[in-house]
Amino acid sequence: MTRTANLSIEFSDEQAMILASAKDFCRDKSDINAVRALLKSDTGFNSDVWNEMIALGWTGLYLPEQHGGSEMGIGATIPLVESMGRHLLSTPFISSTIAAQAIMRGGSEEQQAKWLPALAKGAIGTMALLDNEDWGATDTSCLLSTEGNNFTLQGKKLLVNDAAVADFFVVLTKYQDSIALVVVEATQLANNAISNRTLVDETKRAANVDFTGVTIESAAILAKGAEILPDVRLIGALLIAAEATGCAAAALDTVVDYLTTRKQFGRLIGSYQSLKHPTVEILIQMDSARTLIYHAATLIGDGKLSEDTEIACRMAKAQAAEALSFAGDRAVQFHGGMGFTYDCDAMLYIRRAQWSQHQYGDPQHHRKLLASLLLD
């Protein structure tokens, strides 16, 4: 890092208002009973709540005004997503936001005009990226081939988030040896194309999606797909980081609650340093993650992401995932026998940690890329 470190954090009054209203909304709409009630549900979210979010304009927060958005920039969603994480409020918001960013950044005027207004109104989009377990893969085995004016897809995508409720998919594919992103509408899929997964995080939903045989027009190929894909991945990483940070804070709250009420051997257990000090460590890890996500939210703009922004996003994801893994693990342990039960909320955090860790690249992946940015 011979470069001078970029240390800016800014937060507008508008963002503060969004944060305040998001905190209230998520607390009200997603108390722990509401969360648990959705665990076994099909979609994993409450459509009334989702509709309210749409009505609040959150799905258009970062979209251009001309397409029905309020053009506040993707950074403005960070306080929203952090709050959702804090209350384990699951909706397709993150999936949709990333897909919308792909279209906003990579689509032509026509493509933007076609899909963005629908997204602002709450249509659900999602990215279909993975061919296998490797988030860091630089190639894809999902191929796009052409015959006359028609393009045909060949391949299956793994662990597509919110696939079952998605209105369309932004699919990573390869056309004539080049990476391309194509938009596939749910209606184009074959029967049985979607195969739901059983996830360790029961608040989340994902499926494998088989796109084999789907035929698209050239208008469905994003104009600048290959060019903007790295930025879309970074935005994905940052959103997951924000959600994980919120969830780590929730785990911390749960631990603090237990440590200040549960007695053993006649003492509140929070008085034992072997519990107190690691709990402080959760705070510090979570706090670091929070600092880094808002730094990234400050730097990120609608144009091509700068190197500083890339550094910020990768640091945020690496730190947030580590923080949540640690918090979830300790939350179970520190609840003792209670922590070993499904009834204890620590279970929700340790499972979320497994989910968040790898989404859009795990900490080791991001550190490896940071090394190239910072050390060479």
Partner: protein, 405 residues
């Protein structure tokens, strides 16, 4: 294979071959669901009947209870044979013999100190798997401090009346018998002296069980409630007030079970080799993960820790090498082992990449979601039997002589 008193080593190696051969022909096919790694994970009828059938097969083929008395269903043979059978079964990773409280705790206790009536009544059912046993020591809110047991057993003529509740009862909802520790004398000067030990029938009127759902989503334990439960006075094991002593003796057998006295492998062990298997199959950043130097460094750290852990058992046999802290290895093994496995299993998930999000029941999950479940189940070992934090206190105080909190 070293020679054993009165047994020719040729006999033993022939026997070993025989076991291996038997295993090859009798190991059940993959049942299509993830089998439990320990007896504390028997959470469904499906799993139960599978394991019951397997244990019955092992026993009826002569490879379980080999050192138990012949007249009560055992083999009446030297223990070494059971040890060999266990070793081979462990190596082949066959399913566990699940009736562990019976095989490892109640059975040996009854053999050593039980009456003829007790031997006659209980032993064979333990081996065959027909009579499942559970353990009733822990109580809600008292962790593992047995001295503070509140469940009462009052003598009433030819019966005891039991009131109270137990928690973390393994297979409480399937068990026919419980080894039960209850307070018969609430006035005893030393609280441990007020306890008595019972072999209690779980079908007695007034016993209800409430399955506990674990953080894994599975079952395996119950909470067990006693509401004016009347059991025959003949259920008392030994004398009134000797419960603590008998419980301690019972806990000693745990090692015996592992060592083969009862037989049957109670834990399907995972080792670093299993972890390495994952790293070999996975891609990361477009390359085989096993070629990633950071991953390699982490794996080697685990391998060193594993090696030191296993070797410690051999070092401790040489007193000269344990002179300064003679009980260090013995008292730290639980903390070291359970925390090693916790970290190792958590690390296994980081190796899996996107697949780590999958869970038991998903056909794409790495090894059926084994590691996801194992990581979460592992907390039973870092919490149960004295949390890791309490273990560290014990080591600090009893090995290093540091002052109490």
């Amino acid at each position: 294979m070293t020679e054993h008193q009165g047994i020719e080593s040729g006999e033993l190696s022939d026997f070993r071959k025989g076991v291996a051969d038997w295993i090859k022909h009798n190991t059940p096919a993959d049942p299509g669901f993830l089998l439990p790694q320990t007896f504390m994970e028997v959470g469904s009828e499906q799993v139960l009947s599978f394991l019951r059938e397997w244990q019955h097969k092992v026993w009826s083929s002569g490879y379980l209870g080999m050192a138990w008395p012949k007249e009560y269903g055992g083999g009446g043979m030297p223990r070494i044979f059971q040890q060999i059978a266990d070793e081979e079964m462990k190596k082949a990773r066959v399913p566990i013999c699940f009736n562990v409280i019976g095989l490892g705790w109640a059975g040996p206790l009854i053999i050593d100190t039980g009456t003829d009536f007790e031997k006659e009544t209980y032993l064979k059912g333990i081996l065959s798997g027909e009579d499942i046993w559970c353990q009733g020591f822990s109580e809600p809110n008292h962790g593992s401090d047995l001295g503070s047991i509140q469940t009462r057993a009052e003598r009433d003529d030819n019966e005891y009346i039991i009131n109270g509740s137990k928690i973390w009862t393994t297979m409480g909802n399937y068990a026919k018998y419980m080894i039960l520790l209850a307070r018969t004398d609430s006035q005893a000067e030393r609280r441990y002296n007020g306890l008595s030990f019972f072999l209690a029938p779980m079908d007695a009127k007034g016993i209800t069980t409430s399955p506990i759902q674990k953080l894994t989503g599975d079952y395996g334990f119950t909470e067990t409630f006693f509401d004016d439960v009347r059991i025959p006075a003949s259920c008392l094991m030994g004398e009134e007030g000797h419960g603590w002593r008998i419980a301690m003796q019972t806990l000693q057998y745990e090692r015996g079970a592992e060592a083969g006295a009862a037989g049957g492998v109670a834990i399907l062990s995972t080792v670093m080799n299993d972890l390495l298997r994952i790293a070999k199959d996975v891609q990361r950043d477009g390359e085989p993960l096993m070629q990633d130097p950071v991953t390699r460094d982490n794996l080697v750290k685990f391998l060193i820790e594993e090696q030191a852990l296993y070797l410690a058992e051999n070092r401790v046999k040489i007193p000269a090498l344990c002179a300064d802290y003679p009980n260090s290895v013995a008292l730290s093994t639980k903390l070291r082992g359970t925390e090693f496995f916790r970290r190792m299993r958590q690390y296994a998930l980081t190796l899996q990449g996107a697949s780590s999000a999958l869970y038991v029941g998903d056909e794409d999950a790495v090894e059926g979601g084994f590691w996801q479940r194992a990581y979460m189940n592992n907390f039973s070992t870092t919490i149960g039997g004295g949390t890791s934090q309490i273990q560290a206190n014990i080591i600090g105080e009893h090995v290093l002589g540091l002052p109490k909190d």
